[in-house]
Amino acid sequence: MEAGSISAGVALDHHDDDHGHHHGPPMANRSSRVSHEILGMLLFIISEIMVFGAFFTAYFFIRLVAEGHRWFPFEGYELPVAVAGMNTAILVSSSLTMHWAQSSIKNGNRFGLKAGMVLTSLLGLTFLFIQINEYIHIGFSPQDHAQGTIFYGLTGLHGAHVFVGLTLLVMVTVRAFRGHFSPEHHHGVEVPGIYWHFVDVMWIVVYTAIYIV
């Protein structure tokens, strides 16, 4: 695993050569096998899971506890289960292409990295596009009833995460085409990759809760 950004010994040596006495920070001891970048992302994902958890709490109350609780389909409101199911397939396949990009750079395959990143970004973009299209044709708004509120709440929250994930992916793609990353230094691909996988898994949970159950 590559050296963390804090503990780059390279910078230390460089300073020593240039200035003699003056030197940068001592190299931090690595007290865990996990690098702090990966750990930071995993902890952030715990936080993200709790954000979704709070929305799922609302979902639970609105669907099962509130007075007048009910769920789709009702009064002619229906959810496009099949379209969303296809969208799910698109997002899941983007996780596979992401994995391809990650394992490519680990093996030094630059073409695989670039192609994987472009494919993943495109699939993510398609997902968002279909999602927005679904909003336009769904026939109710969050202002209509609490069911609409939580539908838009959960899918919108997830959509926002797809958007953030896509932004990260585009950055990684740009850097990949500019020749960054190597088999030794690929945290910049790996960390956004973890986030993208999280966004995918979360969608499966959201899809199951909203459309299927």
């Binding site: 190299m27 007290s31 865990s32 750990l39 609302a58 109350f61 007075e67 509120t149």
Partner: protein, 643 residues
């Protein structure tokens, strides 16, 4: 001027703020034109979008995101760029600084600023409550005062001041050169003053400041005047700041400990912040979401809490308290850590039951998530939830009790040094025990039903947050003052501060138990004639309590400017932060120390916690400001001459 506008700094930050507000204007005009809404410019809509975007514009202008922007654009970035590290003049404290020591001081000073503002609001409230009837403020302003008082002191003082103290000492304690994510650390600090300023700005909103308490219960907060959004959005920034800091602490503690520092050789302050950070990472998203839902309901007409649209009002309280009950431990556990450090050092004894102290922290983390509905006994929720919540609430007193008794056992037959930090630690021990006991009393459902929304609750929360948290904060600030500033504080003033605080704190809040049990309602600007005597006494005592804080302020400012120089280890403590000069050199250590023993072996002959390379001698670091501090006594010899 053009160069100042291009380079990161305050000038560009204000420009960024203006651009963000202009941008909000444009977005609102475009959106409202798109949806055919009249009028096209809606002041409240612009305000609400600005409240989200202006702080972000400020942060971009300040330069908090510069590095990431370079990274995102695919430019070459130097991960180890230390150009914004360390402070050479006071101006560096107003910049984005990546040095955890600078950030720690930024945090502590900022949060004490909000402490004094929040305290001032308390003084205004007590002035109003000195007599029955209306004195100085109208009821709505009064509601605003207690709401802003609580919000500032919780979100802008207690939570961040602990983060600030830990920011300063935690990397030193575990032998790390900095935090794991220095740039994220700087960003989390800078979100904080913005949140505080936003909450203060709410007084200028039409309809006055937010006035629904720091709990902002729906549907009150959904229908309240515009001032409410300053809370709704301000909390987002304070919350994001605290989550970012927490994951920074966790990553630092897990990946950057010095060689030899196993988890069970960590000082308890590190354990305490580890547990607190877990709580923050897991719980804080819930308050962020609860306020987002309020925002959506009030600004966009969503139906989360609207029963008319099949929403659920009580859901707000469940989501809110699922954060806000763990939050009371977020506000207490770091204090536990501070007290563990001070009691062991000042009674020259190993801490009693080190492992149980660590495990009880983790137990509190787990149990803290199982008690939230005890805040809702009178809310009309399902009856069957009450008794389980009562039982879990009583159980959570057990790990806390373990800590109290371990501290007492630490004191037992110790050589007590009754200086200021120790006095505050002992004051905490007694006051927090009283507050904890009234907490257990409140866990009993019939009692809660009787005293709900009375001054008994006010007394309880001030015994745990003032008598508990604030006394630990004072203890910690005095204890690490020499390390942080390189100067000694005035011991006589410190003791005077302690005794005035301790006496007038009790004189102010103890009587509230009595009038609470008699039924005086809280959060009301007026009260019945029968409590006039008590309230006048409480108000007078509270003014003296307010004055006692001025002694602290004077002591801190005067000692920082002209106190005697501090040696590297004035308390003869073993933990690693005392191995380096006061204040520590810019990168903390010349070489990472090695840990060879437990952190609390006081009075054990020959015990060593950590050694710097080349023996236990303190090195002469380049650029150290404290003269002669480098030759401070080595920790092991200090421990030896005690016995």
């Amino acid at each position: 001027m053009a160069a100042r506008l291009r380079g990161p700094g305050m000038t560009r930050a204000f420009l960024g703020t203006l651009i963000a507000i202009a941008f909000s204007y444009v977005v609102i005009i475009i959106m409202r034109t798109w949806y055919d809404l009249n009028p096209v410019v809606d002041g409240f809509a612009v305000l609400e979008l600005s409240l989200f975007l202006a702080p972000i514009g400020f942060l971009i202008g300040l330069g908090a995101f510069d590095y990431w922007f370079y990274w995102a654009a695919g430019k070459k970035t130097v991960a180890d760029d230390h150009s914004s590290h360390g402070a050479h003049s006071w101006r560096d404290y107003f910049k984005v600084n990546t040095d955890h020591k600078v950030i720690g001081i930024q945090y502590v000073v900022t949060s004490f600023f909000f402490f004094f503002v929040g305290g001032l609001f308390a003084m205004l409230m007590r002035a109003e409550l000195a007599q029955p009837g209306r004195q100085f403020v109208d009821p709505n302003t009064f509601n605003g005062l207690f709401s802003v008082h609580a919000s500032l002191l919780i979100f802008l003082f207690i939570i961040p001041v602990f983060a600030g103290l830990a920011n300063y000492v935690l990397p030193l304690m575990i032998g790390a050169p900095d935090m794991a994510f220095p740039r994220l650390n700087a960003l989390s600090f800078w979100m904080l003053p913005l949140a505080g300023i936003m909450m203060l700005m709410s007084f200028g909103a039409p309809g006055g400041s937010f006035a629904s308490g720091w709990t902002a219960y729906a549907p009150l907060s959904v229908t309240a005047p515009e001032g409410q959004v300053f809370f709704t959005i301000g909390v987002q920034f304070a919350g994001a700041s605290s989550i970012a800091t927490a994951l920074n602490f966790l990553a630092t503690i897990i990946t950057m400990r010095a060689p030899g520092m196993s988890f069970f050789r960590m000082p308890l302050l590190v354990w305490a912040n580890f547990s607190t950070s877990l709580l923050v990472v897991i719980a804080t998203p819930f308050i962020a979401v609860s306020q987002f839902m309020v925002f959506f309901d009030r600004s966009l007409g969503f139906n989360f809490f609207n029963p008319g649209g099949a929403g659920d009002v009580l859901m707000y309280q469940h989501i809110f308290w699922f954060y806000s009950h763990p939050a009371v431990y977020i506000m207490m556990l770091p204090g536990f850590g501070i007290i563990s450090e001070i009691l062991a050092v000042k009674s020259r004894k190993p801490i009693f039951g080190y492992r149980m102290m660590a495990f009880s922290l983790l137990a509190i983390v787990v149990l803290g998530f199982t008690v939230w509905a005890h805040h809702m006994f009178v809310s009309g929720m399902q009856d069957w939830i009450r008794v389980p919540m009562m039982i879990t609430t009583a159980i959570i007193a057990v790990p806390t009790g373990i800590k109290i008794f371990s501290w007492l056992a630490t004191l037992w037959r110790g050589v007590l040094h009754l200086d200021t930090p120790m006095l505050f630690a002992l004051g905490f021990l007694t006051m927090f025990t009283l507050g904890g006991i009234s907490g257990v009393v409140l866990a009993i459902i019939p009692v809660t039903i009787h005293v709900s929304d009375t001054y008994f609750i006010v007394a309880h929360i001030h015994y745990v947050l003032f008598g508990g948290s604030l006394l630990t904060i004072f203890a910690g600030v005095y204890y690490w003052f020499p390390k942080m500033t390189g100067r000694m504080y005035d011991e006589r003033l410190g003791k005077l501060h302690f005794w005035t605080t301790f006496i007038f704190f009790n004189a102010t809040f103890a009587p509230m138990h009595v009038i609470g049990v008699q039924g005086m309602p809280r959060r009301v600007a007026d009260f019945a004639e029968q409590w006039a005597g008590w309230n006048l006494a409480i108000s007078i005592m509270s003014f003296f309590l307010g004055l006692s804080a001025l002694i602290f302020a004077y002591n801190m400012i005067a000692s920082w400017r002209g106190g005697p120089r501090a040696e590297s280890n004035p308390w003869r403590a073993l933990t690693l932060e005392w191995l380096v000069t006061s204040p520590p050199p810019i990168f903390n250590f010349d070489a990472i120390p090695t840990v060879v023993g437990g952190p609390y072996e006081y009075g054990v002959p020959g015990a060593v916690h950590g050694v710097l390379k080349g023996g236990a001698e303190v090195p002469q670091p380049a650029g150290a400001t404290a003269s002669g501090a480098g030759s401070g006594r080595g920790a092991p010899s200090a421990a030896k001459d005690e016995e």
